[in-house]
């Protein structure tokens, strides 16, 4: 039984990873082929970095991801603080339901609903086109927001709720109390929300696709364009790089989290020691 279950797990993992391994392998292919591996070379990576279009797309994607994640983190963190404090029950539920909608709705519906809004605005103000960087940015912030809120809210609940009150009683202004007391306490949640938003934004294709014009391209959109033509291995080297980037972010956020956990444990242990020391 044990052997059988091991075998089953191995099989599923092979199924999950085979296509990825093939992709990484063929990104190093010498020949211009995605089915015959002739030898190892970095040729496709070199070609990638010589293409101005690719570098352009790469910088578009990074700027978009950083900016949308930053905006979503600021707005989302503030929202989480506010929502947690709301007394009116129905309002709280309503805000939560609405902000979770982009998570529940299929991407295509979120993308299209925003495209319709922008199309209508365009018609209303008789504009040539508003599709491009700004519309994609707005779309990305919108679908990033619920994930930031979701990762900040638990941290607010975990925080000692008397901390901000104590800060206020000791003469902090509400702003000071937020930045000096609360923010440090919820920072792990804020940071993991930021990383989450970053990865989602880097990865998104569907929503960006419907909210951009031909001029502003992100990596997934560029890849989509590539798969419509005859494909050369450079698409694989590009995605291998993208994957490596996301992987790095994930490892970083994991390390950050376990670091924070360890720190909390150390503090708790120190508190316990101090208490027992006083007693003894």
């Amino acid at each position: 039984m044990k052997l059988l279950s091991r075998l089953y797990m191995v099989l599923i993992f092979v199924f999950l990873y085979a296509p990825l391994l093939i992709m990484v392998l063929f990104s190093f292919n010498e020949a211009n082929s995605l089915s015959n591996f002739t030898g190892f070379s970095l040729r496709w990576y070199e070609e990638l970095f010589q293409s101005e279009e690719v570098l352009d797309v790469l910088s578009n994607t990074l700027i978009l991801a950083l900016l949308s994640a930053a905006i979503a983190t600021v707005v989302g963190t503030a929202a989480a603080v506010g929502i947690e404090k709301m007394r009116t029950r129905w309002l709280k539920t309503a805000v939560n339901t609405v902000s979770n909608m982009p998570m529940m709705n299929p991407d295509i519906v979120t993308g299209i609903s925003m495209a319709l809004l922008f199309a209508f605005a365009m018609k209303l103000f008789h504009m040539e086109s508003i599709f491009g960087f700004w519309t994609v940015l707005i779309a990305h912030v919108t679908f990033n927001l619920p994930y930031v809120i979701l990762s900040v809210v638990p941290k607010i609940r975990q925080m000692d709720r008397f901390l901000p009150e104590a800060a206020l009683d000791l003469g902090c202004t509400p702003m000071q109390s937020f930045f000096k007391v609360e923010l440090p306490a919820i920072l792990p949640g804020v940071l993991s929300g930021f990383v989450m938003a970053l990865t989602l934004s880097l990865d998104d294709f569907v929503i960006s696709y419907f909210n951009t014009d031909g001029d502003f391209q992100t990596l997934p959109i560029y890849i989509f364009g590539m798969t419509k033509r005859t494909v050369t291995p450079d698409i694989y080297s590009l995605s291998t790089l993208l994957f490596a980037g996301v992987l790095l972010l994930l490892i970083l956020s994991n390390l950050m989290q376990s670091h924070a956990e360890r720190k909390e444990q150390r503090i708790a242990a120190a508190k316990r020691r101090a208490r027992s020391g006083r007693r003894g």
Binding site: V75, I138, P174
Partner: protein, 289 residues
């Protein structure tokens, strides 16, 4: 007394300030979540005349029942149901075995399950095309050992395979989350009370993991039924799904009104699916992130 009143006033002011922190988000949500959804409804219920003015019409809605859309809906739902069922069958034992692993290795294994999802969906699908196509890896292998080539791409099975591959982790995660929380004492109690292995599975583990199954089903069904890339690529464009139709209306026909109507259908479909699923399971199914 006066001091208490003063303090209460200050508290009120403070809590007002704090709720105000949510205002930018609320404005944003109304502008970019609620308004767009209203526009979906608005576009679905209107048509455009020659001079570009909108007028109300049910033409789009009635067109849905026509021959060009009904088969598409039927096909989408069928593919999504089949893919979801296969995912469930594959994921359930895996989640069970995972929850039985050593706790220290579980975290690592779960990371391994989630990792492929961070590869872009387009690429994951494309790499399957590479494996399956006429002169792809499998057919190359077949040629080398002297077997005839097989046509593996461009059929329904390939589309389902694409869905299963891309969305399997969404099924594994919630089921695993619920299973790892099942108290092992329940299983011992079941054994003590005379249950054998299959009986424990059926009467104890299955009911206790139902909420995970429910959220797994929704998390696989929703992206499967609304996909447009997988069906195009793995099915060689022979199996049009709702997503494909919506994409075509927006990107090549420029019929925003019909596109909006189809999106509305998709939304209603998914709301129905969620409502049905919610009747079966309780809320804390297990959250992926």
């Amino acid at each position: 007394m006066g001091r208490v009143i003063l303090k209460e006033k200050m508290n009120k002011k403070r809590s007002f300030l704090r709720t105000a922190a949510a205002y930018p988000h609320m404005v944003w949500s109304v502008l970019f979540i609620v308004a767009p959804l209203i526009f979906v409804l608005y576009y679905a219920l209107t048509e455009e005349d020659a001079s570009g003015n909108f007028y109300f019409s049910f033409a789009n809605i009635t067109a849905l029942a026509g021959e060009s859309y009904l088969p598409v809906f039927f096909r989408s739902i069928c593919f999504a149901v089949v893919a979801t069922a296969i995912c469930l069958v594959l994921a359930y034992p895996l989640a069970y075995f995972l929850s039985k692993c050593k706790v220290s290795s579980q975290r690592m294994l779960i990371m391994l399950v989630m990792l492929p999802m961070w590869m872009n969906l387009l690429i994951r699908t494309y790499s399957w095309m590479n494996i399956l196509e006429t002169n792809g890896l499998i057919n190359n292998l077949l040629t080398t050992i002297g077997l005839p080539n097989a046509k593996l791409l461009g059929n329904g099975a390939a589309v389902v395979l694409g869905m299963v591959y891309n969305f399997l982790p969404y099924m594994i995660m919630p089921i695993y989350t619920v299973m790892s929380k099942i108290d092992s004492r329940y299983l011992e109690a079941a054994a003590d009370l005379g249950c054998n292995g299959p009986q424990t599975m059926l009467r104890v583990i299955l009911p206790l993991s139902a909420s995970g199954i429910i959220s797994g089903i929704t998390m696989v069904f929703v992206p499967s039924v609304s996909t447009f890339y997988i069906s195009q690529k793995m099915g060689n464009g022979r199996f049009e799904m709702i997503g494909d139709t919506i994409e075509r209306q927006f990107m090549s026909n420029y019929d925003y009104h019909m596109g909006a109507t189809l999106s509305l259908v998709l939304m209603v479909l998914i709301i129905i699916c969620l409502a049905v699923m919610n009747r079966f399971g309780d809320e804390d199914g297990g959250v992926l992130v």
